[in-house]
Symmetry: C2
Subunit: 160 residues, 2 copies
């Protein structure tokens, strides 16, 4: 395995490790626990779960794999904060969508060659990418892994 | 820049981005705010700050740069949980040590060649490393970046 292949492996391993942590935590939480705030006056578990589904769904288009599966989640869970008087989908439904989105990503991830991981993502122009080659698919995964780790630090507080 | 160099850049950029987030947050918090719990019955800001200093200090030895600067922090902030009746150093002192440790790491990081980033860390044997070449210095930084992101998700709750 050369260092390019190793880099891809390490970055995907870190992504999968955070997903595993998330799934392990989500399995121990009841739907009622998700509806609670992670800390006083902070986001609820439901909101953070929906937020994570919507952000991961966005990777499908950002990485050039296709269209979002659940574009309707962008408005309530990315564009709008928790307390905007919105009605959220049931936790059960969000948990299913979480699995669906991550499984779709996993399928696409496994098909990419190391070289394809270093290709540009869809939000950067060819011109900018020529100057900033780090704006590639792999970099997006690094960033989203940290995003997931950040919110998992909060979601863990739902555990009694 | 080849893909090996790019990988090192992306992983270090992510590390530095999380450090920047941390420093920005720490600058806005008063010492009194650090002494509060991040959520009811959870760790205090002081404990999490000390924990982060101790874990980052551990990188100096784990990455083969030298000895820990503050080995005395391991016992209270890694081996022992928050509520063990311990007396913690003042926040001011921990904040200074946080800067000292990260500056020392930065100096060492900047001296490494891309090839050296893919060399083994000190907690893996030559024999195991031959079979598992992903257990290198770079992988440790990926892991500690997620560790920092995780706790930053919690420390942000100290903000009013």
């Amino acid at each position: 395995m050369n260092n390019q292949q190793l880099s891809v492996k390490m970055i995907l391993d870190a992504w999968n490790a955070q997903l595993k942590n998330a799934n392990k935590l989500f399995d121990t939480l009841t739907d009622d626990q998700f509806t609670e705030e992670v800390a006083p006056d902070r986001n609820t578990g439901t909101y953070l779960l929906g937020h994570l589904v919507a952000v991961h769904d966005g990777l499908l288009s950002l990485l050039g794999f296709g269209q979002k599966l659940f574009p309707e989640l962008e408005e309530p869970f990315i564009k709008t904060p928790n307390k905007s008087g919105q009605t959220f989908p049931p936790v059960k439904e969000l948990k299913e969508k979480w699995q669906t989105v991550n499984a779709a990503l996993d399928q696409h991830f496994n098909k990419l060659t190391p070289e394809e991981w270093f290709q540009k993502h869809t939000a950067v122009s060819e011109e900018d990418f020529a100057k900033e080659p780090h704006r590639n698919r792999l970099n997006v995964v690094i960033s989203r892994t940290n995003h997931l780790a950040n919110h998992l630090g909060q979601l863990i507080f739902l555990k009694k």
